[in-house]
């Protein structure tokens, strides 16, 4: 009666979603087809800043097979504004994006018209003959261009400025032995999921209902938003989540098309499909990063940190979209990182330019903040003659100091504290894995024409954001289990992870579990997937529902078998009593509904943490960087599926390395995006970074949730620029090159080296 139960939680089980993807039988937005379906193409602004004088679509409308050209005039009335879902500072309100441009365009790619035609190709043909007259206005492409206010009624292009912090920063700087200030920046780039966005909207004229498929991330929120914009009841709209080809923060927010495509379907009473093409993806989906920072640190001469002062300057692009001020706010919040810094002051300036609006991309603000801080720490270590590892070791928060409050850095958030962990342990593990001590003699050395450098970057990363998530578990009449959850799946393996949790809780075989997610049809309310919250929140909700369902199952079985609950257990699809009597789950389910709701609410965040270490070589003649070894150590509390966690880490590191070396959305002075193709917007390929190691620790579970899990989706990216740039800087230190700005393109590194040599020669 006591044979050990093999638990799935904690095991690297194969993913339940893989078979369909591997067989090509997944269903993505562009795979949907309906009788009578029409295709939408968006005409986007070719200019960064202009008045729209007139739109002549007559030639397009005259083409056979073109059903409509929808402009602001067709939408009429007040053009709906995209709401601020996160970080909704009131200062941002005037800068919200209308779902379609009426009088003015403010970035290249802003929607002006929607062409609806029988085929996508035909709609593109029609787009070419729509004549729009513009009056070009001066584009603003950098901070401080106040002479050209982009919004009527605004004096300049600053959307918000605020100060925040804790302690006595001025006092700390006043008494410090040593102070250093440097300016850094991270370039504008974006997530680039492999599937572009896509929506499929169907209008049911009879029922007056709208169904939008292809939604994800925050479907319930987006449904409410859409209902408000269309003047419909929320319950008359459903948003359906199907397979999704990657999200990384950018996909699933409410974009202009999330209104335009359903609007078109309702207007034409026909199913309408819109698939973003890659060119428009690069100018339409949220951009991210694009943060500059002036960072000052105050230290004692022994390297103990006393105070940190940061000024964050964040280019938000042309509008403030759903993510509000998350990017600059988080860049400010994560400036102190995993270190004991008693006095911290941050100031944030979010400003507008004539570029695509900015939103979150995996590790928003953190990737930037860690780069800024960890670079400065290495400079401090150099100045003070302290080993870069030693200065970190001295200042890392110890376990005894946890929970460690970091209040007051984000004006729209309440108190928060680093929850649990052993930061020094993860740090030391990283040092031993990379061989920090043994490799010190390589720092800056020239061997076979390339210089070696080893760099470190420590981080702490928030996840598991509240407020809540819901789940519904249903035992089906065939004895299988259906798990429905409000979390969204963006390709990260959530079906498997939730299936593991449900399987263990209910002792139901994994292959008898089906996980449904995201769609508004599944539950009354769901909260979605962002801020590394799906496992923490959705998983805990599934656990809660599972426990409740287990009780219900046992209760019903007790009645049927005439034995008390305490003598019953669930084994492999049967409820078995101590006396050997048994009844199948299927049989119990056929007696009537056997389902249970579960929920999990949380105000505390999880904080994963760790250290990255990188060993690079730099060819000083070409600026080419080669990564010889990369070690990322992160404590995620509890890894429900270690293989999935490992995959998140490796994938995040490679995305991060793209952000360090490749990804860059480049604009000219007129606000034209110069690289809106995958030939010119570069992301890592298989041959770029072949040697990476990710080590998942489970040292300390999170106290905030019953799984003990911490968000694990984003931690892998947040220290990549920090550690890698430090390694490159270490390699080039003998040449007196310092790194302040990303990306580290070969040409930029070459220029830094050349300028340093020219300075040395002149001196």
């Amino acid at each position: 009666m006591t044979e050990p139960v093999k638990l799935l939680v904690g095991a690297a089980v194969e993913r339940m979603e893989d078979a369909r993807f591997l067989a090509g039988s997944g269903t993505f937005a562009d795979d949907l087809v309906r009788e009578g379906m029409l295709h939408a193409v968006i005409l986007r602004s070719p200019l960064a800043h202009a008045r729209i004088i007139g739109i002549d679509a007559s030639a397009a409308l005259a083409m056979t097979g073109v059903h409509a050209v929808i402009t602001a005039a067709e939408i009429g009335g007040d053009i709906p504004l995209i709401p601020l879902r996160l970080a909704p500072l009131p200062e941002f309100e005037p800068f919200r994006q209308p779902v379609i441009a009426r009088d003015k365009v403010r970035y290249v790619g802003e929607p002006i018209a929607v062409i609806i035609a029988e085929t996508r190709a035909l709609a593109e043909d029609a787009l070419e003959v729509i004549d729009i007259q513009f009056k070009a206005l001066t584009a603003v492409t950098e901070r401080g261009s106040g002479a050209h206010a982009l919004f009527d009624g605004a004096n300049d292009n600053v959307a918000v400025r605020y100060d925040a912090g804790f302690g006595d920063v001025e006092g700390a700087f006043a008494v410090a032995d040593y102070v250093r200030t440097e300016c850094f920046s991270v370039q504008r780039h974006t997530a680039l999921p492999m599937e572009t966005r896509g929506l499929f909207a169907e209008w049911d004229s009879v029922a007056g209902r709208l169904i939008v498929t292809g939604a994800t991330k925050v479907t319930f929120y987006n449904r409410r938003t859409l209902a408000g914009m269309l003047g419909m009841r929320t319950e008359d709209i459903d948003l359906i989540e199907i397979d999704v080809g990657g999200g990384f923060g950018v996909r699933g927010e409410f974009y202009p098309e999330d209104f335009l495509v359903p609007f078109a379907a309702r207007m034409l009473r026909r199913p309408v499909k819109w698939i973003e093409d890659r060119r428009e993806h690069l100018m339409a989906i949220n951009h991210s990063r694009d943060v500059a920072c002036e960072l000052s640190i105050a230290c004692r001469s022994d390297g103990m940190f006393l105070g940190l002062r940061g000024k964050i300057f964040s280019d938000m692009g042309a509008y403030i979209r759903t993510n509000g001020g998350v990017v600059p706010a988080k860049a400010a919040q994560f400036l102190p990182g995993p270190y004991r810094i008693p006095h911290v002051g941050v100031s944030v300036e979010a400003f507008l330019t004539s570029k695509t609006p900015v939103g979150t991309y995996r590790g928003p603000g953190r990737f930037e903040a860690n780069f800024f801080r960890e670079r400065l720490i290495d400079m401090v270590a150099g100045d003070l003659g302290i080993d870069p590892a030693e200065i970190r070791r001295k200042n890392l928060i110890t376990e005894e100091e946890l929970p460690y409050p970091i209040n007051g850095l984000v004006p729209y958030e309440g108190p928060t504290a680093y929850d649990s962990g052993d930061y020094p342990a993860a740090f030391e593990r990283t040092l031993s894995e990379i061989g920090w001590t043994e490799k010190q003699n390589l720092q800056g050395r020239l061997i076979n024409g390339v210089r070696h450098g080893i760099g470190l970057g420590c981080f702490v990363e928030s996840g598991g954001a509240g407020p809540k998530e819901n789940a519904l578990l249903t035992l089906e009449a065939d004895g299988s289990l259906t798990v429905a959850v409000g979390s969204s799946v963006l390709g990260q393996g959530l079906e498997t992870v939730l299936g593991q949790i449900a399987a263990d809780t209910l002792s139901i075989p994994f292959d008898r579990i089906r996980v449904l997610h995201g769609s508004t049809t599944l539950l009354d309310e769901g909260f979605g997937t962002y801020h590394s919250r799906a496992v923490v929140m959705g998983g805990s909700a599934v656990l809660d529902a599972g426990k409740r369902l287990r009780e219900k199952i046992l209760q019903r079985a007790a009645e049927r078998l005439g034995r008390p609950n305490s003598e019953l257990r669930i084994v492999d699809g049967l409820v078995v009593a101590a006396n050997g009597a048994a009844i199948s789950l299927a049989s119990l389910a056929r007696d009537g509904d056997l389902s249970a709701d579960g929920t999990f609410s949380n105000t505390a965040r999880t904080y994963s943490y760790g250290t990255h270490a990188v060993h690079v070589t730099v060819d000083p003649r070409t600026g080419a960087v080669n990564i010889l070894d990369y070690v990322a150590v992160e404590d995620v509390g509890h890894a429900i599926n270690p293989a999935i966690v490992h995959g998140q880490a490796i994938g995040a590191i490679v995305q991060g390395l793209g952000g360090v070396f490749l990804d860059h959305l480049i604009y000219d002075d007129e606000g034209q995006l110069l690289n809106a193709s995958l030939a010119d917007y570069l992301v890592p390929t298989a041959s770029d970074f072949p040697t990476l190691r990710a080590i998942t620790l489970e040292l300390r579970p999170s106290p905030s949730n019953p799984l003990g899990a911490k968000g694990a989706g984003e931690g892998g990216i947040v220290a990549v620029a920090a550690a890698t740039a430090n390694a490159v800087a270490a390699a080039l230190a003998p040449l007196n090159v310092e790194i302040h700005h990303l990306p580290l393109t070969p040409a930029r590194l070459w220029r830094l080296i050349k300028d340093a040599r020219d300075r040395a020669a002149a001196a």
Binding site: E128, N448, L735, T745, P746, A747, K754
Partner: protein, 292 residues
């Protein structure tokens, strides 16, 4: 990014192909592997009324090796070059350069004729053609003509091809025995177009001095270039560390690359010097002192 509306024909003979090209007042375009043209169509940067698919023309996918040189039919793919074991002897520079062309899938479809006709300034084959004094055979409504590679490229994505003409083949002069050679390019990622590339070869005369030096560069001008100044530096001198440096400096001085989104001009200029140094060092088995 759907293609613009167009007609398509797949002629069985060269004569038919030329007739089809000539029939459309300059609005017809040749397609073979399509690896350069299809992206142009997808972005609607090209919008021909008719595509003439020469992919099934007979005898245009031959690789002929003779005492006169290497003849590459217009339909020869990168994959065919990569796999033709004879070419390692017959033209090792070609093989080395072609190894850098694009990615696996593109290499299965991309053709010699397509690369020449597309005339990307950073493409490897046009660079080899110019460096090696190749000649290109062109057939058109007014008959066949043979154009030296040096005269074939007119500018960025521009050639002497007339609307009713197509490339039949390219001939590389015979590879002389004992030749010293090298090829190097620098790209942001594997398979990307080069930010700069250098091809070079020479022979040594009885005195051990360089003769018949050929040096070409890609990716640093609106078309592939021969660097005659560098060849002049090399010819008549024995390979040495000093000569390599001198030649690399001459190469830096001989190019004036444009800025682009990937790099400033000065960087590309320097790349040309560094790459030529590496090419000549490897060609001459010269152990260059380690740069700092």
């Amino acid at each position: 990014m759907k293609l613009p509306s167009l007609d398509y024909t797949c002629p069985a003979t060269l004569t038919e192909a030329i007739a089809a090209l000539a029939s459309h007042d300059g609005e017809a375009k040749v397609i073979a592997g399509g690896q350069s043209l299809m992206p142009m169509l997808a972005f609607r940067l090209a919008a021909p009324k008719l595509l003439v698919d020469i992919g099934r023309l007979p005898d245009m996918d031959r690789i002929d090796i003779s005492e006169d040189g290497v003849d590459l039919g217009a339909l020869v793919t990168w994959r065919r070059i990569e796999r033709d074991a004879r070419l390692a002897q017959a033209h090792p520079l070609l093989v080395a350069a072609i190894a850098h062309v694009a990615h696996y899938q593109v290499r299965n479809r991309g053709t010699v004729g397509g690369s020449l006709a597309h005339a990307d300034p950073a493409a490897e084959l046009p660079g080899i053609a110019v460096t090696c004094d190749a000649v290109i055979t062109i057939a058109g409504a007014n008959g066949t003509r043979i154009v030296p590679a040096a005269a074939f490229f007119r500018g960025g994505l521009e050639t002497v091809l007339k609307p009713d003409e197509l490339i039949v083949s390219m001939r590389l002069p015979a590879w002389r025995r004992g030749r010293r050679w090298g090829f190097a390019e620098f790209a942001r990622r594997q398979g990307d177009f080069a930010m700069a590339g250098v091809a070079a070869y020479y022979n040594l005369d009885a005195q051990g001095a360089i003769c018949d030096a050929h040096v070409g560069v890609i990716g640093v001008a609106d078309r592939p270039m021969r660097l005659r100044e560098v060849e002049t530096v090399l010819n008549g001198r024995r390979p040495s560390i000093e000569l390599v440096r001198h030649a690399a400096d001459a190469a830096r001085g001989a190019v004036d690359p444009p800025d682009d989104i990937h790099a400033e001009s000065a960087y590309r200029r320097e790349l040309v010097g560094v790459l030529l140094e590496r090419v000549l060092a490897s060609a001459g088995d010269i152990d260059m002192p380690e740069a700092t």
